[in-house]
């Protein structure tokens, strides 16, 4: 099975890097399972599947990976959720305080995680976001940033094989 990361990295078959990916097939399989767990969980809590896809696409755009953004846009398009769709664009706000606060936090975790403080978590709580949803949002943002770095790294490595 070719996973999303491998598809987006485009490592040529038959290369040493392709063989290395085969040796790390379980890492790729678990990465794909993690994608499903943050994007389409069985228990989404206060983050609908549409909102998750929109925030993922937004973070991909912030990091400059258009192909990954397009992947999440496909999930978003299936949802028919206009409020969430606005959030897929960096800077986009939907006017719903909870969702806008979550988008701001996704931006912070993508652009400058080192600047995050207790105050940022307090702001999410003040916006009415539950503690489980804060953790769900953090896992989503953390996963997408992981995924984008594996893809970026693989693209660099394939250039020097």
């Amino acid at each position: 099975m070719t996973t999303l990361i491998e598809t987006l990295a485009g490592v040529p078959a038959g290369s040493e890097l392709s063989a290395a990916l085969k040796a790390r097939a379980e890492v790729m399989r678990l990465s794909e399972a993690a994608h499903d767990a943050v994007l389409v969980p069985r228990e989404p809590g206060g983050l609908s599947h549409a909102l998750r896809a929109a925030l993922a696409a937004r973070m991909c755009r912030l990091v400059g990976n258009a192909a990954a953004a397009a992947h999440y846009d496909v999930y978003l398009a299936h949802s028919d959720d206009a409020d969430a769709a606005v959030l897929a664009q960096p800077g986009g706000t939907c006017g719903e305080p909870r969702q806008d606060a979550m988008a701001r936090h996704a931006d912070l975790l993508t652009l400058a995680p080192r600047k995050a403080t207790k105050g940022d978590i307090e702001a999410l709580k003040a916006a009415g976001i539950s503690e489980p949803d804060i953790v769900r949002l953090s896992e989503l943002a953390a996963f997408v940033n992981y995924q984008l770095r594996v893809i970026a790294g693989l693209k660099l490595l394939k250039g020097v094989q």
Partner: protein
Amino acid sequence: MSQPIHTFTAKVPTWSPYVTPVELSTATPEQLAAMKVTPSNTGASPYVRTLAHDPESLEVRSPLFNLIMYGKDGLPPAERELGAIGASIVNRCVYCVAVHASRFINHTKREDVIDTIFAEERAARLEPRNQVLFDFAAKLSTMPIEADASDAQALKDAGLTALEQLDLVLSAAIFGWANRLMHTLGEPVA
């Protein structure tokens, strides 16, 4: 009263969450399973109990993390730790740095390498192979991502196999994930 720690240390602090961790007594069966709490393993750290608010993610992330950091063959364990440290320095996750600096020292007995990194951070001057590993991990972790073709070439020139190069990417990237939980959902205290 314990105080937050803001400077890098290899002495592992306590992690104090900003959100209320799941209590084992009220956890759902799915949360207990994700925390790997069983009749013979009844403990779970505040960090794991915090992440148990999202058991579906936790259940996948734990084995993924362990495989990337502690899986066999490929990049030596100490060099995976260096990848973790490079990412965690950029993201300023003081707790992650402490854990993985102490593991690096356990593997290598090279406290001097860690002292240099703590003093100079990204400007640290290290011996050639450590330098390319550390720099690649740090540059893959910045926003925007600074790593470029010359950094990948430097890994190859340092003699890393394709599998070792991949393991370095994975160890830096998984800390792009871990840092975004540990540094943002709580703080190190001592």
